[in-house]
Symmetry: none
Subunit: 421 residues, 2 copies
């Protein structure tokens, strides 16, 4: 099995100012190609440190992927370090300069002198275009080792991996029979999710299944090698996982919870409106992150203040009698939003995100969520969510989507993560 | 300045199944002691890989901190690798075995044979007790380099750092005077921000200044050592940075753009309302992320559909004449939101987030933003934002906050990042 090293560059990483996350992402991508990442190294903005780390990795692996240090400033030294590995130094790349000039011209700005540096590359490497930023990527082979250098911003690095680097790596290491899949769920505690998978997670199985958690989303990662790639094992394992996780499974691979909601609404020719208090716009933001969401989302309200709730149609007596954080107000918010927007579905959140505002009866983390369907009566749910303000808001945002999805499906799914009955 | 390397051990890290976070935590702790972390390395459960990484670090730094690989299983190889660095191999530590036996006895269980391994240490190292787990830590000095080996679980590693390692490191490197600060800005391109700082960023200065970018936020990080900590240099350097970045500086340290807006609104006894199209709730979400934001934010609207804009008060003739993505509609949206909420300020976004919906006149990335102040006429601004749908939305969200902040301050600040005039 071919091996890889991942190198990340930046003082902000070595000094602990930012958390390094590219190595994990790239490791997952390399594993998908049948390449085994054996080391991650992070070095500061220091040319000699970078040269040493590169030289050490060159002795050990077949593929090196570097991120960062390709910016226009004096402390961006990846180009120089790569050039130092093989005599002739940096050469000017006319195409890259042309792309840079075009990029700035399109914005009606002259190319700053500092950016000219980004048109330089080591003589042994070739450029990879970066339509999303000023730093082109570079790749080349030296002493039999493939080296690829990518820009640090993830929104530039990820597309460059998919558009260029993956193919270059595959060409370098040869085809490996490997098949990966993932199944996604939300609203289930990790321990319950693992129990339900049972023996599917045993070591040494092929396909092997593992669970990872990111935010509130659970991912079952399946990896098959050899004959298990083509004998139906992967499909069977996906089906078993989906059966085990039931109604809370919302997709596979790159699917998102909001995307799955959009697809269901399109199928039904229906739309949804939001009315948010403690999540302050996060639910609408998640829904409208889906391309084409205007087909099923037209209006949302953030009713942070009680007057805003009343203005939308919530009976002020309900607020007075039950408090803004209550089943009754959650229900009235979702219903009012759906009516106001002329939508079949509505979803609302009202809770105590903290750090202050909690009481013994309604402690910080208490959130009421309601999903409204104009064709059926549904019940609001109460949650007691752990974490700080940001986590409580993010988790409530995910749970609101889970409840909306269940409402569209016409399912209940039993107790949800953090639900209190 | 003394330097350090941090080594993390585990296949689950190199394979990307878990995110490595110890290196960041340890780096922050080392910086606080005046030690500069210059490299982080993660290796798998492989003795030779670990020995190589240790040997490389020994040549480069004064302090090495290792986490992980101290468990009782066959793939825990940190002890063996450390012993291999200096001839005599592993020795048995009677005290450590006694502590292990006592730990298991207290739980009414016999000591498993596999755990006996955890009472072994390289001859050149000493044990550090671990009251919270079975793996004791170890430290020792070899060829003038201090090496400390800590267990992987953070709930064991963190207390061991505070109780033992910090003092050992301080004794090894001596007391260092150090002072850190940071200045934050948003709305300025990185290259312009760097140009404006000029010589402040020169290598070798004390305090030294570097720029990092996270999303659209620029951070100037200042670090002073020795006499520069107490002679006013840090304060002078902060003032110079703030002067260079001007009205687009919004804070220091852990400040946020939304937090700075909240503080300004509280000073003025004013509030703000939002009306979002392309950002779909993100601006409201950012504002309400601030604890206590209900003091200055009560209502927001997501007017994704034209009918939603009209319902809020936008003249349908404006939409017909200029299109939903226009200066006129942006202005009407912000004004209507402020009036609807009874707020002095309003902020709106309307644009083409893509991936489809662009035209030659209004390509994907075109966003109009308006900040309304009921006491003064302000101008909407047009942006052409690069990136995918997520980036366009996130960047527009930041720019809306920048414009709102300038409106509250009564400043213009000249051309902003991605602005088209």
């Amino acid at each position: 099995m071919a091996t890889a090293a991942i190198l990340s560059v930046g003082d902000e990483l070595t000094l602990g100012q930012f958390l390094e996350t590219h190595a994990q992402w790239l490791s997952q991508r390399l594993v998908e190609l049948g390449v085994e990442p054996v080391m991650h190294t992070t070095v500061g903005d220091d040319e000699q440190g970078l040269v040493d780390a590169l030289a050490a990795a060159m002795k050990r692996v077949d593929v090196i992927v570097i991120t960062g240090g390709l910016g226009p400033t004096a402390d961006d030294l990846t180009r120089e370090a790569l050039a130092a590995l093989d005599g002739p130094g940096l050469v000017h790349d006319a195409d890259a300069e042309g792309a840079l000039r075009a990029r700035f011209e399109a914005r009606g700005r002259p190319l700053p002198a500092s950016n000219l540096k980004q048109a330089l590359r080591p003589a042994w490497m070739r450029m990879m275009p970066n339509p999303l930023g000023t730093a082109p990527g570079m790749f080349g082979t030296l002493d039999g080792v493939l080296v690829a250098s990518l820009p640090g911003p993830p929104e530039e690095m990820h597309p460059m991996w998919h558009d260029h680097v993956a193919a270059v790596v595959r060409a370098h290491v040869g085809h490996v029979q490997i098949k990966c899949a993932s199944v996604l769920a939300c609203g289930l505690p990790e321990s319950v999710a693992a129990e339900r998978l049972g023996a599917l997670m045993d070591h040494g199985r092929n396909p092997i299944v593992g669970i990872t958690v990111s935010g509130t989303v659970l991912t079952a990662r399946l990896r098959a090698t050899g004959v298990a790639c083509s004998d139906g094992s992967v499909e069977a394992c996906i089906a078993q996982t989906e059966a085990a996780w039931g109604d809370l499974c919302f997709g596979r691979g790159d699917d998102t919870l909001a995307g799955s909601i959009g697809a269901l609404l399109i199928e039904r020719g229906a739309s949804v409106a939001t009315c948010e208090s403690c999540t302050g716009g996060s639910v609408a933001r998640a829904l409208t992150a889906v391309p084409g969401s205007s087909a099923w989302f037209g209006s949302g309200w953030i009713t942070y203040a009680n007057e805003a709730k009343v203005r939308l149609g919530v009976d002020p007596m309900l607020i007075e009698r039950h408090g803004a954080v209550s089943a009754e107000v959650a229900q009235a918010m979702a219903t009012s939003a759906a009516r106001g927007a002329g939508a079949r579905f509505g979803v609302s959140t009202t809770g105590v995100a903290g750090p202050t505002g909690g009481s013994s009866e309604k402690p910080v983390g208490t959130v009421w969520i309601h999903a409204h369907d104009e064709t059926r009566a549904l019940r609001p749910r109460r949650f007691l969510i752990t974490g700080d303000r940001t986590m409580i808001r993010d988790r409530a945002t995910a749970l609101a989507q889970v409840m909306l999805r269940l409402a569209i499906l016409g399912r209940d799914a039993g107790p949800l993560l953090w639900e209190v009955r």
